[in-house]
Each structure stands twice: as C-alpha cells, then as structure tokens.
Subunit: 307 residues, 2 copies
C-alpha cells in the first residue's frame, strides 16, 4: 500500500457516456471535446492547487451537468411522463463518505446535491420529493421544467413511446457523465450523474446513484465511475468489482477494468468505466463503439477521445 | 465450485433485526420467536417441496412484514413526517436477477413488490411514487395509512423529534427483516425488507434495497441479508463483501461474515448479517447485544435465538 502523503501523481479522468454515437458531425464532436476539456480543466485546476479529489470530481461533473450536450443535469432525457428524473452519486475514498440522490426533478446540479447529502446529513442516499425538500433546505438551485427543455430529447421520447419500448443503449445515445481523481495527498474520489434512460418508467433508478455500481472510491485501491446499461452494472457491482480485482487479486487497473467490461459484453451489458488507481494509473475501457472520455495528470498531457 | 444439481443441503436463515433489545419481556420474546418460527417454516416448506430459494425467502419475509412485531411492512416505524417509507430488495443467485423498491408508502408487502420489479420489468430499482404506480399496475395490495398505525411507534418518533435526533441503532429498536436460502438445486437467494430508522428524513434510503449492501446472492458463493446502521453497510458493501472474501480469499463463511462485522464494530457500525454459502453452511454474526435470528436445513434442526 502506498503512502498517503505527497503522492507522486495527481490527476483526473472524465467521461461523457458510452454508446453507439453514430452520426456525430465533426462540429458536434468538437463541441463535445471542448466541453470535456473544460470539465477536465475545472477539476485539474483544483488538484494542481492542492485541493481535494472530491472537490475536483464535483467541479468536473458540474461543468457537464450545465451543458445540454450530455445526459445529466440540463441535458437529461425525458421519462415516459416527459419529465426529468436524475440520479447522482459522489464518494471520497479517504473516509468512504458517500452522498447520492435518485429520482430527483428540477435540481440544477444533482452532483452538488449528492455532495450536500455526504457533507450535511447522516445519510447516504435521498430520493424523490424528500431529496427535493432537502435541496431547498440547503439552498440548492431549483429550476423549472423549461430549464431541461430539449426538442431533440422530446422527439426521441415520443418516437420511442410510439414503439413502446425503453430506449436501448445500442441506440444513438450520449449518456451519463462522471469523473474520478486522485489528489496530491493520495485521496481518491469518484462522481457520476445521469438523466437515466429515455422513456424510463417514473421512479426507475439505474446504477449511477448506487455506491459500488455507478461510483466507487477506495483509498489505496482505486476510484471508478460507470456508464452504460445500469441494470447490468448493478448486478455485477461493476465499480466496486474493478477495485475488488485490484485489492484481492493484485490485478493492475487496466486488466481489472478491461476484464469486467469484456465479461459484461458477453452477457449483453453495454457500457464502460473510467478508473484511476492509487498510483494515478488510468484505465478507460468500453464495449460500445464509442465512449466520450478524457484525462490529464501532472505526468501526462491532456487526452480526449470519443471512439 | 459445486454442482448445481441435487445439492446436498437445502435450508433457510431468517433475521428480525439487530439491536440492543433491552426490556424485552419473556412474553414478547416468545411472540417474536413464534413468528420467526412461522417465517422459517413458510420458507422451508417451499424448499422441502423442491421449490426455489427465491420463492422461499420471499415467503419467509412476507410472514414478518405481516406482523407488527418487526420494523418492516405492517410494523414499519415512522419518518419525521409521521408516515411509513419502506425499502426492500430480493436477489436470485441463479441469474443475478434483482428487484428492489425504496421509499415506498402504503404498500402492504414491499418484498412482493420488489419481486415484481425483478420478474416483470427490465429494471432493478424503483422508488417513491413511481414504484407505487407500478404496484397498482401489477395488482399489489395498497393499504391506507391506518394499516401501519402503532401507538408505540408514534410515541417513539415524537419522543425522538423532541430531542431532534435521528434514532440511533443503539436505542432499543427491533429492526429490519431478511432471509437467505439455498434450494435443492443449489440456487442461492436473499431478501431484505425494512421501515428504516424512526424519525428519518423523508426520502432517506438505507442499505436494505441496495444490492451489495442490504442483500446479495451469488450462486456458488453465498447469499447474505444485512441488518444495522444502513449507512455503514453501504460504505462497506457488507453483503457483497462477505461473498468477496469467500470468492477471492477462499475464506469460510463464518470467518468472512464475522470479520466484516467485527471491522464494522471498530468504526461504530452497529448491526449483523445472516449468510448461507453454496454448501448450506450458515453464519449469523452481529456486534449488537442481540439479533433476532433462526435457521433450519435438511441437515440441522430448527434453531431460534435473540441474544
């Protein structure tokens, strides 16, 4: 196990969802890459100034939640009731503090609300109207339905409703967002935020707010954020499972992360993860045609990719 | 790994929560033991007739949900709004199918609703009003608030509200219920159901509905149901962690389960687990003064204990 002081590497990894991502124009790709860069820089700046990894992942995710390009915060897709219900979680490896919210509506930044749950309650997970009441009590920004309006997203849910099926990840969908980081003190953190699946049943919760499935951060092991078909990621506890294989099998992070994503692929579980270990080593495997992803450390240059 | 056909042992383990359990009169202890016996027998009968472990754990939990003696279903404690919000999860190790509901009100049997989520949706977890709408659509019994009325529970929440604190597990509280089983085909299953903590914030969700924390069932490894201070059980992924130590470290189930409960005790995480492994071997460790628990297999007689 490594020392927790003056860690050699600090850095951040960000994702903007896994999927097929066909028909992404060059212009759209550039918009996405530019926003991912902004997200990485927001987190990296905090790390560079000696800030904590949990502050870094929160800041990185807020940038993506505030963009309409991703399925989280402002860009969240519509439920079958044509509303937004968002899920988010954040975890700090130093003390295993976790905050999560699920099935929340009209919250501008679900990841900020999740952080408030971690910092200002004795609880881990708040859902629905109770979470919204808590948001008001801690002065989190509540926004009207119109804030989330998207003609493209609305067309999509109506088209899917006609075919009476929940959207499959194999459709051209840009997903969940997330970030993992390690700070100068060796503390790991993970954050994940999503609008879920288009046309999902109201009240449906995926893996994003589930500790161990959507997010996991364990000091001296690794931090992981997942994106993909949530139900599979819950059944295989994907985020924690990457850490398990490092902790129990001494696997390196690239092997641990790639193996579980390959195993999911064999059973039809589409998606990917971003992961960073206690040495700042990074893995970003996915089994879909694309996953929006990027990273930057004090040892490696900014890298941003979609395919 | 063992064969999945004609398993040598079949059996069931049930719990009715961990806690201090002071001042339990002999009469109350006898009522509790009698209900635990009824729960075990309901599940065991299914196993004896060649039924599946998931049917057995569901049947066992329904018996406890229908009793006012436990903090689940009918006996669920009050939130700070003086209502009931219940959580439940069920998992079948054969195919990792999972169903869970969280923060549901007016549902007579949350564990039955969780089973419906597993069997009749593509989802894993439904919460709040969305879960209630789903309950109506699959003809689950909805009951009025009065069904849950308990003068004792109401007095308790009002007393705690005066002191403005969430009930601690160290108080005299009888908790969560759960069951784990292995059937004649070697399939493992786990189920957990709870009313949560007295005076909890509306929307607060504990470990019971969280796969990996409250319930976990993995064929050829083990099945676990947790009871205790939910936030700790989420942070340490207790149910899955018992299985991890068996799977990755070749620990026997008694060591695996006892070690994690001891580790929780060191950091103030009160509670216990029931666990059964792929050979039908049982563990029931707890770090509280008492845990209501019992078991029966085709190799061992009925055993029921509180302290």
């Amino acid at each position: 196990m490594n020392s927790v002081a003056a860690n050699e590497t600090f850095g951040i990894v960000v994702h903007g969802g896994a999927g097929v991502m066909q028909n992404l124009s060059n212009e759209k790709q550039n918009q996405i890459k530019s926003k991912i860069k902004e997200s990485i820089n927001a987190g990296y700046q905090i790390l560079e100034n000696g800030g904590s990894s949990i502050d870094a992942v929160e800041a990185a995710v807020v940038v993506l939640e505030d963009s309409s390009l991703f399925n989280a915060g402002k860009g969240s897709v519509y439920t079958s009731d044509e509303k937004q219900e968002m899920d988010a979680s954040i975890m700090f490896g130093k003390d295993r503090s976790i905050g999560a919210v699920a099935s929340v509506s009209n919250i501008k930044n679900p990841i900020k609300l999740a952080r408030k749950v971690a910092d200002q309650t004795e609880h881990v997970l708040l859902v629905g109207e109770g979470a919204k009441s808590f948001a008001r009590s801690v002065n989190q920004e509540i926004v009207p339905d119109e804030y989330f309006f998207s003609e493209e997203n609305l067309k999509r849910v109506r088209k899917i409703k006609q075919s009476a099926a929940v959207e499959k990840i194999s459709m051209n969908k840009i997903g969940t967002v997330g970030a993992v980081a390690i700070d100068i003190n060796g503390n790991l953190a993970a954050a994940t935020s999503t609008g879920g699946m288009t046309n999902k049943m109201p009240g449906r919760v995926g893996d994003s707010p589930i500790p161990g499935s959507g997010s996991w951060a364990q000091n001296n092991v690794c931090a992981v954020s997942s994106t993909g078909h949530g139900e599979y990621f819950i059944k295989y506890q994907v985020a924690k499972e990457v850490c398990n294989r490092i902790q129990f099998l001494n696997a390196d992070i690239e092997t641990a992360a790639k193996e579980i994503i390959d195993e999911l692929n064999e059973i039809g579980g589409a998606g990917g993860v971003i992961a960073i270990d206690f040495n700042g080593k990074i893995a970003m495997p996915f089994n879909t045609p694309g996953m929006i992803r990027g990273n930057k450390t004090n040892k490696t240059d900014l890298e941003i990719k979609i395919y």
